[in-house]
Symmetry: C2
DNA sequence: AGCCGTTTAGCAAACGATTGCCAAAAATCG
DNA sequence: CGATTTTTGGCAATCGTTTGCTAAACGGCT
């Protein structure tokens, strides 16, 4: 019925809510209500509206909606600028699981990269203060701040992943790194190992501090002196994980009283380390046992298959989203500020009993 | 009854353009002009406005702007749902380079995952038709379409990465897979290899078709019969890259006349394959040479160090962005519809001359 | 018929910016 | 100093949706 004199030459923008209303023969406000709040409208008209919308291929304009209601449905994830290999390995999985969880709840995921430069921080803050982002998940990094603006007071819910920032009042999803390292170290002690090499990430890095503390705890618990462990690395960024392993191998060769057990803080360090020491003539696990961090799939197929502490990324992603949406959904009833997800030790052939 | 004055829980709306105008003592339209078009306004007032904006910590509302001007500054990248390990390895780098290039041009990157389910496709199309996305980069996947809507007619500029869709009229950024495989196969023939094993990805997959064609071309060029190459794999998705390699190793063991050269279509296949055949007692490159695809950093440290064809992801990302922004900014002055980036063969110890 | 509870129409004001317009003010120049 | 150019100030419309409001339409029920 009704002649539509409006010739939609403007392919620029698709059908509007008004078009749907016209086709369905209802008021525009009814359409809006039907779409947003199906309960408040008669089933019959709702069906009519749905049909009209589908027929026109109507898609509501997300920005108009966000502008009106004052909040977007975009969550941003802040990735550390330097994607060190270890994290790099798990990033796709993290993104995948976070994105999936978000979409199921009607949110979208936007990427923000936290490079070292001011421009990058400014960009993230623009996203936050400019109303584009509704919340943020920050992966293993500190909060960006510049020009007197800080992400902390952008009024956005924020969740920290991997890095424990609960001290700063930020909900944090972390793994039990320290405990995991302590356990695996204890296991190695049980296997007779008494001299250790610890291959570190960047000096002062949170993960590194935690993990090394785990080693020390295990030693203390077993009455082994702290001097039993040598450290290598700490000068380079995780980004150069392979390079760290190479260096560590050189360090290892220099040691007078050679360790029989090696704890690496990422899989890539362990892999390049093993590759190099094998070339020097050492055998794994004959001469030395190796365990590392991250749980990269490739570990199963290195030679020898590498023991590793798997980060439960999928679970962490889901936990982060759940936490964030909780904060958005206005539950000021904070559960625990810190959520710990247990990582899983996967023992493979790279670890064996100490000789003699 | 009466006014139900729900307490507007901390209305987080920051300073507005009007506030800046008031503080700077100018009109709101002048502020807008100063920020968008610094040339059209007096240097002195511009400075005054900038100062006021900075003092207030003003950040323009991106959605209001986008709504008004009719286009957003969000680019979405559509990732294949099943992140097979090979692509998974390079995804962080892809995202990194694309995001960087986008930000430099004032755009933002949003992630969209193309899972197998209808919900995921619908979601992507909502982004496109709902005006959220201004353009799309699609990674190694076909265009999503459902409910009579297709990404193709969302009116968005689209660039395809890795997958050649220039036939469908889509600007595509691809690598010269075929040529690269042909060259490396030819090299192996030169080294005396005459029996090949090709470890395939999913049957019918674009990359796989191209790469296998490259093998055949090299054989033909050298006058070696096609029967010289056995195929393994093709049943599993890339996602199970390691599993494919494991299977391939089993297949290899069964072959009567064993190949001396192996071409794997991803690094992970090659790695698990090597791991398994070594366990069976074969040596690499003594008994067989292996080359693979992707250029994962880990290849350098596998045993033996693995020859691989490196995908120039950084370059591809930049090219994709350049192409997309070209399409957004300019008229349809299409350069070449297909841009080919050369991949780079990295020869390591896993390849050697054939015995005898 | 009358009453009452649901639904809906129609209107209008937001949300925060951009932009065209015209007149007013200021700066420039001869 | 008058004429001309440049720069601003207001004003108002616009982007597409949400949402509160009133009044009207509708139906079921007694």
């Amino acid at each position: 019925m009704g002649k539509n004199k409006q010739v939609p030459v403007e392919e620029q923008s698709g059908p509007l809510m008004a078009d749907v209303a016209r086709l369905a023969g209802v008021a525009i406000s009814t359409v809006s209500r039907a779409l947003a709040n199906p309960g408040r409208v008669n089933e019959k008209t709702r069906a009519k509206i749905d049909a009209a919308a589908k027929q026109l291929g109507y898609t509501p304009n997300a920005m108009a909606r966000s502008l009106r209601v004052g909040r977007s449905n975009i969550i941003m994830i802040i990735l550390p600028g330097s994607l060190y290999y270890g994290v790099s390995q798990i990033i796709p999985q993290v993104l995948q699981s976070i994105n999936k969880a978000l979409i199921q709840n009607g949110y979208n995921l936007m990427i923000a990269n936290l490079d070292r430069d001011a421009e990058s921080e400014r960009h993230i803050l623009d996203l936050a203060f400019g109303g584009t982002a509704r919340g943020a998940i920050i992966l293993s990094s500190k909060l960006p701040e510049i020009d007197g603006r800080s992400l902390a007071n952008a009024g956005l819910p924020i969740v920290s992943m991997l890095l424990d920032m609960s001290d700063a009042g930020l909900p944090s999803i972390v793994t039990n790194d320290r405990e995991a390292v302590r356990d695996v170290t204890a296991e190695m002690i049980r296997l007779g190992h008494r001299r250790f090499l610890y291959i570190a990430g960047p000096e002062g890095n949170y993960h590194d501090v935690e993990r090394y503390a785990g080693v020390l705890e295990a030693l203390r618990d077993a009455g082994v002196p702290e001097s039993a462990v040598s450290r290598s690395g700490g000068r380079l960024d995780y980004q150069q994980g392979f390079a760290i392993g190479v260096h560590a191998a050189a360090d290892f060769a220099q040691l007078a009283d050679r360790p029989t057990a090696v704890i690496a803080t990422s899989d890539d360090m362990a892999i390049s380390f093993i590759s190099r020491v094998q070339r020097m003539g050492f055998t794994v696990p004959g001469d030395l046992s190796v365990v590392s961090f991250d749980g990269s799939p490739v570990c199963e197929f290195s030679s020898p298959p590498l023991s590793t502490i798997e980060q439960p990324v999928e679970e962490m992603g889901q936990a982060a989203v759940a936490r964030l949406l909780g904060a958005i959904g206005r539950s000021p009833e904070e559960p625990a500020l810190r959520t710990t997800i247990r990582s899983k030790l996967i023992l493979r052939e790279s670890v064996a009993a100490a000789k003699g």
